[in-house]
Every structure is written in structure tokens, then in C-alpha cells.
């Protein structure tokens, strides 16, 4: 009779472990390794090439005394907050409208989704043009007779980040809308019926009943939006190049500029490290709660 204990644990699920090698490698070598490397070199005075000349926190001191960085962070915060709120809001409202058993749903959905197929370069270019005060919307409205009409978000440092937001939302809300639509379709019909019998108005049903039921969708949507926000770069470069002045700088661009324009890798790495730190502080506890602990099925 065989012993009660089984064969060594490691070889159970062996295929799964082998199949997961690319993932494990990516996670460990690229993400963890790359991050560690970045953090390490953020303490050096590397210029064009990485060099192990350690300078302590000098790069960080410089980083935090740079007005460009401070503006970048402020912009990211504004852009991030508005982008998150409006993407979810607009995406949800559009999805709710499309979910009303309307005709031409496919057409509307396609129209709202197509910008997602276009790159940020394209998006930025198109909007840069439409928002150009000399021949875009401002000029068109002026030509219609409102001589004093002024709408030049990309050329006004105070509101330039909102100009970028317009294009960002245009590009990204379609996907969020699809997510939300999928979520709405997953809601039990009977919930709607119950609410109707309770006499709950439509908007209240959405806010108090349906939205809380769509937690999963909102999480996926937030991951998508938030990861996009942190990475926002192309859109800014294509629309304003960070301008006017440094009014629309963002952290990803700061990193890029520091590494490749200033040829100050150390500085770029220090900025990267700050970004990573923020991400880790926010995302890791959440991701662990969300995907880690519990077991399914």
C-alpha cells in the first residue's frame, strides 16, 4: 500500500508552470527587473549612457525643484481626475442610451467606437487642427458673426490641459462605452422589472441599483483608463508638444525629455521612479485585494 502522501508537489501542474514561463519571465525580468534597474540608476548621475556614478538623492532634489516636473504632476492630476470621471460618465451615459432597445444601435455604437482605432498621433493632429484658433472652430464661429468668440484651448496655457482632454476623451470613451454596454447587458432583466414595479424612476434605478451592480466592469474600465492616463504622452506631443510653454507637460514626457533630450538618464530615471512609486502605492494593494487573496471555483 502506498504512503498517504503523494508525489512531490512541484510536478503537479507542471505544464501550467511551463506555459507560464513567458508570463513569469515578463513579470520578473521585464517589470521587476526593469523597475529595479531604473530605481538603481536613478541614484546615479548617468547622462547619455547608464553609469554607476552614484550621487545619492541629487536627482530627486533636482526633480522636485523643477517647475516643469511640478507642472507635469499637476497636469497629470487634473487630466487624470477629469479623464477618469468623464470617461466613466460619458461612457456610461452613452451605454445607457444605447441600451434602450433603440434602432440603429450598431451604427451608433460603431460611430462612437471608431476613434479608438486611431492612434494618438492621428487624434492629436485632427484635434489640433479643429481647435486651432486661426482656422478651426474659433474661426468658423467668428466667420458666422460672433467676432469675439474665443475658443483656443490649445493655445491658452490656463486651459490647455482641457484641450488635450477633449481629444483624449474623444478617443477613449468609445471603448469604455462598450465595456459599460456589456455590463448593462449582463444585468438581470428582473431587476429592471422590480424597479419599475417599485416605481423607481429610470435615473434612480441606474444610480442606486444598476451602477452598484456593475462593480466588475467599473474595475476593468478603471484599470484601462488609469493605465492610459499614466502613460499619456503621444497625445500631448502630437497636440501641443507640451506647450504653450510648459503648460501641458506630463510626467511621461518629462521622463522622455530628460532621458533623450537632456541626455540626463539619471534625472529621467528619478522621474520614472517617482511615477512607479505612485503606481505601486495605489495599485499594488488594490490589485492584491482584487486579484490576489480569494480563490475562485
Amino acid at each position: 500500500m502506498a504512503a498517504a502522501t503523494g508525489p512531490a508537489r512541484w510536478h503537479r501542474n507542471l505544464s501550467a508552470k511551463i506555459a507560464a514561463i513567458p508570463m513569469i519571465t515578463t513579470a520578473l525580468v521585464v517589470f521587476i527587473g526593469g523597475t529595479a534597474w531604473t530605481v538603481l540608476y536613478s541614484f546615479t548621475s548617468s547622462k547619455l549612457l547608464p553609469k554607476e556614478k552614484f550621487v545619492g538623492f541629487a536627482q530627486y532634489e533636482r526633480l522636485w525643484s523643477s517647475s516643469k516636473w511640478l507642472i507635469s504632476i499637476e497636469n497629470l492630476a487634473i487630466y487624470g481626475a477629469f479623464s477618469l470621471i468623464f470617461s466613466l460618465l460619458i461612457g456610461f451615459v452613452l451605454a445607457a442610451l444605447l441600451d434602450q432597445k433603440i434602432r440603429f444601435e450598431d451604427t451608433f455604437r460603431t460611430l462612437l467606437l471608431y476613434p479608438f482605432a486611431l492612434s494618438f498621433i492621428v487624434t492629436g493632429l485632427a484635434w489640433q487642427w479643429i481647435l486651432n484658433p486661426d482656422f478651426g472652430i474659433q474661426q468658423v464661429v467668428r466667420n458666422l458673426g460672433w467676432e469675439n468668440f474665443s475658443f483656443d484651448p490649445l493655445y491658452n496655457p490656463d486651459i490647455v490641459i482641457y484641450g488635450i482632454l477633449i481629444a483624449g476623451l474623444w478617443q477613449g470613451t468609445g471603448l469604455i462605452m462598450c465595456l459599460m454596454l456589456a455590463g448593462l447587458r449582463g444585468i438581470d432583466e428582473d431587476i429592471w422589472k422590480a424597479a419599475k414595479i417599485d416605481g423607481i424612476p429610470m435615473w434612480k434605478t441606474y444610480i442606486f441599483i444598476i451602477i452598484p451592480m456593475m462593480r466588475g466592469i467599473f474595475i476593468t474600465a478603471i484599470v484601462l483608463i488609469a493605465s492610459g492616463i499614466i502613460k499619456v504622452y503621444d497625445l500631448v506631443v502630437a497636440q501641443t508638444g507640451g506647450g504653450p510653454g510648459i503648460a501641458s507637460e506630463v510626467p511621461a514626457k518629462y521622463v522622455y525629455d530628460a532621458m533623450f533630450l537632456s541626455q540626463n538618464l539619471g534625472q529621467g530615471f528619478a522621474a520614472s521612479t517617482m511615477m512607479l512609486l505612485t503606481v505601486i502605492v495605489i495599485v499594488v494593494p488594490w490589485a492584491y485585494l482584487e486579484f490576489g487573496g480569494k480563490r475562485r471555483g
Partner: protein
Amino acid sequence: MGNVTRASADVQVSPVPQEMTGPRGPKPRTVLSRRNIMIYGTLIMVSLYYMLPLYVMIVTSLKGMPEIRLGNIFSPPVEITFQPWVKAWAEACTGLNCDGLSRGFFNSVRILIPSVLLSIAIASVNGYALANWRFKGSETFFTILIVGAFIPYQVMIYPIVIMLREVGLYGSLTGLVIVHTIFGMPILTLLFRNYFASVPQELFKAARVDGAGFWGIYFRIMVPMSLPIFVVAMILQVTGIWNDFLFGVIYTKPDLYPMTVQLNNIVNSTQGVKEYNVNMAATILTGLVPLTIYFISGKLFVRGIAAGAVKG
């Protein structure tokens, strides 16, 4: 219970005429009800807003330069010309090469196909392993991947240059394909994992009893029933990879530069005056591949998203 009417088995009570008063039949609804006006009104307005840039791009791309200089970007072309399209596709210059986007098109295709295939293959296997074959630490790796989704690409350029150099893949198509696979992995893995987790466990158990192993179940059971999520993954990846500029240009060399490099060159370099019509034509041409895929597979996209994203 005393007052219950004990009707006979014959229930066809003939209606008394006076009862026919009052509402009868469907609730009257006009096509222009306030509700419809609100819904369709909003949708049409929003759609117009979403269409605006595309409209401007198309209209502009069909105008000649003199007409563009006149100003109004919203006015339809007076004289339609396809010259800008021809120029964008075949004549626009980048430095010395004056063959427009056509030069990069096949490179883009060459990059796109293996990148999409490999990234989807790997991410789907990851998602499958995470959903059905958990092992110790698998969730930790997944958490790292998700965090990785938030790392800006720019941060990783350098480390990856070094890694690719060390494994000798720098500058090759393989290297680029790997880079796309790596950066597509987090979100795709998330989607696949959620999708496979929503596939009934019993199906998986049945297949194990039937003697199918890790790969048998993956190829014979999971893949064939997961078309929607593969479509979603394909759309996301096609869009991302086709539109990529940074990786394409950093991790390859000129004979492999994707179309977006030409696009960037056409858009960012001006020969005297900016040829907006050519720029717009080039822009649309570049977006054509992902757009086509969208229009073809829009329905599946929503279905796939529904399956892949609902479970959080």
C-alpha cells in the same frame, strides 16, 4: 375564500360592450415622444461630435491646397481631388525616399501579424493558466503584470534595449514582436483570465476526465469556444500595434520601419507649406486597417467584452 368565483371551465366570457370603453390595446406612442427625442437627439449630437474629426479629415484630404488656404475647414470640397491620397500613399517624401506610406505598409503588416499572433497566443495561455491551473505564486505574478500595465513605455525603453541587446535580438523583427508581446500582456492576460474563469468549471473537469491535459484542454476545448474574447484581443492588439510608433522605430531599423514612421515623417516634416490635405489623407490611410477591422467585427467586440470584462 368564500367569495371566489367558481367559473365554469369555459372561460371565454363574451365581453360586454360597455367594458370596451377606456384604454384598449397598446399604449399610444408617438414616434416623437419626449423620450425618443431625448435618446436619439443625444445620440445624434454625440455621434456628430464623434464624427467631426473624421469629417474634417476626409473633407480636407479631398481639397486642393488653395481651397484649404481659404480657411473654413468644415466646408465640403468644391473641387474633389484625389491627388492628396495618391501623394500620401505613393509620393510623399521622407528625407530622400519619396514613396509615401506605401513603403511602410508592408512593414507594418510584417510586424503586425506575428506580433498579434504571438501576443494573443501567450496572453491567452497565461489567462488560461491563471483561471484554470493556478499554482503557488501564480496570482502574485499576475498582480505584477497588472502593475506593469501602468508603467509608461518610455520608462522601459532603456532596460529593454539592454535586455534585447543581451539576448542578441536588438534590431530584429523578433525583438520587436517580443516587445509588443510584453507590453500587450497585462491587459490581454486580464481579459483572457476573466473570460476563462467564466467558462463553467465543469467543462474543464469533464475534459480532464476525458484525459485531456493542459494543452489538450486549451486547444481542443477552450480556444474553440472563446472566439469573442479572441476577437477583442485581436482588435486591441491590432489597434495598438498598428498605431505604434515608438517601439517600431526604436527597436528596429529603417528597412522594417512601420507605416506610422512614414506618417510621422509626412506629418512632422513640411516641405515649405504644410500640406494639410496630404497629412489628412495619410492619417486616414494609416487608420484604415484598424478601422476596417472594427467595422467588420463590431458586434463580436461587444460580446467578447461582455464575456471578458464583466467578472472583475
